[in-house]
Amino acid sequence: MLDDPIANLLSDIAAQDRAAFRALYTASSAKLMGVLLRILGQRSEAEDALQEVFTRVWLRAGRFDATKGRGMTWLIAIARNLAIDRLRSRHDTTSDDETLAALVDHAPGVESRLVAAGEARRITDCFATLEPDRAAAVRGAYLDGHSYTDLAAKHDVPLNTMRTWLRRSLLKLKECMEA
């Protein structure tokens, strides 16, 4: 809670405080617009998405948990997820069978270690441990909303190769972040 004014606003919003909701818009709409505009590319669509993001924020604020992450991180996750869903429904929606199989076959109840928010700053250092083209693929996915299909085409490799690359890079990143 300390030093996270966005988290404080979210807890007020969870209590139906509309003034806090307006204050949150003032404090975060430019950042969220930046996220939506970068991924969606079109201002009119980004503005429409921004309305949807704030609608979701009002409805879901009660689910924000300040002990699990920063307020702005939570807001950006909502904006990115919405933008990526919209981007995907614009393009093809072919499913990757292997990913589907992975989704169906899961082991329940495994706890994973939560990393303190401050540690995230080291991501820049950790990217340096990856080969440059693989680091670029991870960043392109996160910042520009590239799918596996987009990345495979961009880097001119088969889809499964891209998937293996990316999964290895993610494991390496995680190892570095948690070291």
Partner: protein, 228 residues
């Protein structure tokens, strides 16, 4: 280093799936399935939160972009009675009449749906389900009478322009069957294979509905049919 594609344990597999979801590389159906996991599996939520924290350092690279003041439109969406003028101004063209009905209040809408139901189908329903999702205002009531299923929107909003709510029936482990598109607040459709215990789901699809024969958009609400 071992090949994560071949030797990943299910624990690693879950963690990689969480990473792929947060990174945003999955296709829409795979994202919808990951989101279904998020609603049902607390350990998976923890994994997703951890990956959001791992990658949040990248958020600094999103440059600010000035946003116009969209608060009036947002408040009109969320609080239709508190801001009637805004609601009228900002309602989407095709949703205008619905917004006006909604503006009259949920009770009126419910009463209208119940009246329509009583007029249309005198015999007692054979199956019913309420379709909902956590933390979503969207709520549909499904009623099966004979070979007809009637869906009434009781809460939340119809799909935005360019999108439609599509109704699916899932029996056991079978693939979902499309029962049709919900293009109005109350819609009656042929009830193919409806039975007690069958699951109804509504997905968000592009206008015209899914073209693949399977849900392509996020699943918005679900419910299980029970005999009445």
């Amino acid at each position: 280093m071992t090949d994560p594609m071949i030797s990943a344990t299910s624990e690693e597999e879950d963690d990689l799936l969480a990473a792929e979801y947060v990174l945003g590389v999955l296709s829409l159906p795979d994202r919808a399935m990951a989101e279904a996991r998020l609603r049902a599996d607390a350990a998976f939520v923890t994994r997703v939160n951890a990956w959001e924290a791992h990658l949040e350092g990248l958020n600094d690279e999103f440059a600010d972009a000035p946003a116009p003041d969209l608060m009036p439109a947002i408040e009109a969406r969320l609080f239709p009675q508190a801001a009637p003028q805004n609601a009228a101004q900002h309602a989407a063209p095709s949703g205008g009449w619905f917004t006006r009905i909604f503006g009259l209040g949920l009770a009126t809408l419910t009463a209208a749906a119940v009246t329509a139901f009583l007029l249309l189908s005198p015999p007692a329903p054979s199956f019913k389900a309420t379709l909902t999702a956590d933390a979503s205002p969207l709520r549909y009531e499904a009623t099966v009478v004979g070979d007809t299923i009637t869906l009434a929107l009781l809460g939340g909003a119809a799909a935005e322009p360019g999108y439609v709510h599509e109704l699916w029936l899932i029996v056991g482990n079978d693939a979902p069957i499309s029962l049709g598109l919900l293009t109005a607040p109350t819609v009656s459709l042929p009830a193919i294979a409806a039975s007690a215990g069958a699951v109804l789901a509504i997905s968000l699809e592009p206008a015209g509905g899914s073209t693949t024969g399977a849900p392509t958009g996020p699943v918005l609400v679900t419910g299980t049919l029970a005999a009445t």
